[in-house]
Symmetry: C2
Subunit: 332 residues, 2 copies
Amino acid sequence: MPTSTQVQLVRRPQGWPVPEDFRTVTVDLPDLGPDQVRVANAFLSVDPYMRGRMNDAESYVAPFALDATMTGGAVGRVVESTSADVPVGAAVTHDLGWRDVAQGDAARFRVVDDDLPLSAYLGVLGMTAFTAHVGLLQIAQMKPGEVVFVSGAAGAVGSMAGQIARLKGASRVIGSAGSPAKVARVRERYGFDAAFDYKDGHVYRQLRAAAPDGIDVYFDNVGGVHLEAAIGTLNRDGRVALCGAISGYNDEQAQPGPRNMARIIQQGLTLRGFTVGFHPQHYPAFVADMREWVSTGQIAYDETVIDGLDHAVDAFLAMMRGETTGKTLVRL
Amino acid sequence: MPTSTQVQLVRRPQGWPVPEDFRTVTVDLPDLGPDQVRVANAFLSVDPYMRGRMNDAESYVAPFALDATMTGGAVGRVVESTSADVPVGAAVTHDLGWRDVAQGDAARFRVVDDDLPLSAYLGVLGMTAFTAHVGLLQIAQMKPGEVVFVSGAAGAVGSMAGQIARLKGASRVIGSAGSPAKVARVRERYGFDAAFDYKDGHVYRQLRAAAPDGIDVYFDNVGGVHLEAAIGTLNRDGRVALCGAISGYNDEQAQPGPRNMARIIQQGLTLRGFTVGFHPQHYPAFVADMREWVSTGQIAYDETVIDGLDHAVDAFLAMMRGETTGKTLVRL
């Protein structure tokens, strides 16, 4: 009988997750019903938003249930199928991650073109880059000639957001990251005009120095003092895409918001939150842009790959601690 | 020689303003130059935003200069003119308040229709109601059928915002105010579907009880815990018009922002700040709506009138303390 090895949440983490919050189980898989598929996962995605789902409180999406297998982005190949639309051998993306073998209704799996390494469908052509594209262009409505600031600029979403800003005609792209090596990578590999190490000192002062004429758009992956610094630096009619707030995800108490909310009124600023799942209508435009940029070598993308489902929790924690670069993936 | 008696700021208030922060002077007025007018002010407007201008820090608009006469909304009649466009006898609105006689280039004065009591041009047909109209319809993009929450609902802007919401087809309009008498007025006179006294207890719980299905739009005059409660109650794709934050205007330290900023991401919320002066293109639509509502008796508006320039500072402070109802005016 086919089996699936899966990672379950057994306890709500207090602050930073620890190994005891999880367990790995192997379950027997039933025979396929009509119009179902079985998929051998090749890569699993670990993402910051998953930390929110480990809490009981409502987050971006529903909490993970206790004693149940977690879900998340994954890509793999169909190994058995009762569906004509999703045949054996097809490469598919889906949300049944945190397991080596996924199985379910064919409608839950999306067949991809299979002309790039499979991991690309979780990164540069997946939710990660789509999040950057929607956030920058639809949510923050970035226009050519504007100054853009991206936090978490060495991360999976941030490195994409900064490069998309450049490719869409931003006049200046500024990034923040958490180490000198990351700052160098943001400047040299991702082509940001300026970058700073937020652990080096006062975020507001560093941002002001990098943006003497202020900023027009802020793509926020971080929240906290970064958001406050950005609000203090935004020009009139500036816009913020609130994508993530990783600085607070492991806090046991919610952080207070920015102390300079009054500046939102004074400068006529707009702060808009989003999760990409609610914006599927923009997916075709994203794919058109990204396929062109990838095929012409105009966009750099990086992956940190960690091998083995046994190390999936380690991969997740390394990503949360900022120890990985680009998109963090678990290879099976 | 004609004179003008004027109120000047002589010291930046620390916390709540005190009489010693101001002085009254009488100055001689020069003869009119070409295309100038002299206006006997009938009413002066006192508004919450003026508190911000008394600080040295940047506010919605530039700070008041020390040892100079303050400015602000006013309405009066032309008593001398060298301008064909703004003749003697015309009723005019302008921003040279805090004085009994105003004088300057004719272009600075706007002739009004003069078919309503002059005070109306500072309130129901003035900046106050225009602020409510722009904030609700343009900034928060309120749609028919939505649930709307307005803080400071007994105030000049709030009472207008709630009534405009009703007239534009909101399915439910909820207000907060600072006394039982105000709450009764908000329900009975301004026709809100529900209202609560924020001094009575937990704002979030009272708002939730009044809005069991959540809210779609929040018109914020108050900031602080009201904003946090609204963010916690907004439905998916909800919108906030950030108009004012009177709860913090007299604080010596800036308040921290809402602790539930993460919900902005999770629910796809939009927070947008504005000051009405940047949205003049929407003025004609406002006047068309408001003239119809006033002429058909569909909108209630209130004024608290305090007599005498000597009491202008008292009027301002009474308004800030929430002791006045509707639009607060100084009559000369």
